[in-house]
């Protein structure tokens, strides 16, 4: 694993830039643990101060320091994205591999569920959930709902790979070596699916962070948990742009854009590295 990181650092520019961007974002998130101000409190600093030596990124109209507020917001937003990505990946891998490998009625049942999830409109459902759950709506709950809505497309992608893997001779060798279905899926087929899982993880994080920001800006989330979207929501509530408090919106947007680009570059470079063909070439094989 360390050797992989070293190789990537040494030979891949995308990886270096992506890693630098994500590292900055992570350091920001980490700093939230040493924040001098309590997270939820308002009017702890003088409001509406532009960026300065004492308040690097300025302060909000609610009397919060933008920098320290951002550290907490990006931590929550990233955590949300990771939660959605991990949960939806697990569902997508299990459903995709199982459907592709099993075929027959298992495939038909799983894929009809899958197609249902692909076509149901996402946004109205999320808003519906918000209105039904309202007070009990929390970040983990929203993440679970998003994960349940965000796996279907990738499951189909994984299924198509599993379908072709099933016809390869080594699958028959595995069967006749006495491997059980779950062993074949986890040990023989998973490595071929991983490149797609990796790139879709980053994409899925970007997608879920985007949705979360959108929902939060519109006020359809738990606005008391500071997130990037939540910050923009409050800025809008205080008509920050009209009032000329640009730093209240500009810095959260810049940070989330940095996250997007960083994750994207990591996905691209990891993809190239983990691809079985490139892996084989490095092992000295490949014909």
């Amino acid at each position: 694993m360390l050797a992989i990181l070293r190789d990537l650092l040494r030979y891949n520019l995308e990886f270096r830039i992506g890693l630098a961007l994500v590292a900055i974002v992570l350091v920001m998130a980490g700093l939230s643990f040493v924040s001098p101000y309590p997270a939820g409190d308002v009017f702890v600093v003088p409001p509406d101060i532009p960026p300065s030596i004492t308040h690097w990124l300025g302060t909000t109209s609610r009397g919060q320091d933008v920098f320290w507020q951002l550290t907490l917001a990006i931590r929550n937003t990233l955590g949300f994205g990771i939660m959605v990505a991990v949960l939806s990946r697990v569902i997508a891998i299990v459903v995709g591999l199982l459907a592709g490998y099993s075929g027959g009625w298992i495939d038909r049942v799983l894929m009809s569920i899958n197609d249902t999830f692909i076509i149901i409109p996402l946004f109205p459902i999320l808003i519906l959930f918000y209105f039904v759950l309202r007070d009990t709506m929390s970040t983990p709950l929203l993440a679970t709902i998003m994960a349940c809505l965000g796996w279907a497309y990738d499951a189909r992608l994984i299924r198509s790979i599993a379908l072709s893997l099933k016809t390869r001779e080594f699958t028959q060798t595995s069967i006749f070596s006495g491997m059980k279905t779950h062993e074949i899926l986890a040990r023989e087929h998973l490595p071929y699916v991983l490149p797609i899982v990796f790139s879709t993880t980053m994409n899925n994080m970007n997608w879920s962070i985007g949705i979360e920001v959108t929902l939060a800006v519109l006020g359809f989330t738990d606005i008391n948990t500071p997130t990037i979207g939540g910050m923009i929501y409050w800025a809008n509530q205080h008509t920050a742009l009209v009032a000329g408090i640009w730093w209240w919106i500009a810095f959260p947007v810049a940070l989330v854009a940095m996250t997007f680009v960083g994750l994207f570059l990591l996905a691209v470079s990891m993809n190239e590295y983990i691809d079985p063909r490139s892996r084989l070439a490095r092992m000295g094989g490949g014909r």
Partner: protein, 281 residues
Amino acid sequence: MSALIELDRVSKSFSRGGLFSTRRVEAVKEVSFALDADKPEIFTVIGESGSGKSTLARMILGIHAPSSGQVRLGGRDVATYERRAFMAEVQPIFQNPFEAFNPLKRLDRYLFMTAERFGGATGTSAVDGSVDEALRQVGLSLPEIKGRFPHELSGGQLQRVAIARALVAKPRLIVADEPVSMIDASLRMSIVNLFGRLRDELGLSIVYITHDLATAYYISDRLIIMQQGVVVEQGPARAVLSAPTHPYSRQLRDAVLTPDSAGAFRATHSRKAAETPGARS
């Protein structure tokens, strides 16, 4: 006389086509033959693409169920076997040795897994011992193979490992689907000879599926010739191939090109060569 494997009027049809026009394609039609349990032999199925020989192999291996008829192992319908109990008796060898093992995984895991699950070996030393024994039967050894990846071996070596893996399960029957067609010419005969040794020394029966009449003649005891799912001729391999009676068998035999057919197309087609023999010096 008891039969090791017995095919009783086995047919297989697939449905082809889309939503509105499905048609049944009969890949194998009413094929019957039996291999004697007490007399190990290499039984060859000869056919070209579309002859149904691979479908037949997959039915013997229990991968496909016949549409009609029965495949019996030791007198019992294959469909009634518990899958693993069946695999301990019948093992496959495939066409492409480079595809037979996952290129990202070490080779030995397939051997160890087979030894644990079918070979009845428990404990590291017993597993190592049975894998090493099987590898030595094919001219390799465990130290040579341990920890190696498929791309580190040649096609011939890989096919030996594939055969060793099948042997680890201590099966009574091996089904080999075109096992030498992708092996380089210089290594091919060693693999073919290995099948002969398995029959003679280990008493294994082998169903050898091939399109190559020359190796069939060289190694097999009995054969059937298939054309579009139907057996057109069967009998002792050398008798049938020396004097085929069915028109299709004769056509096949006559199309085989060997070093002895030198100049076949020059003699019949080359006007120039016929007019000026020895023009080049």
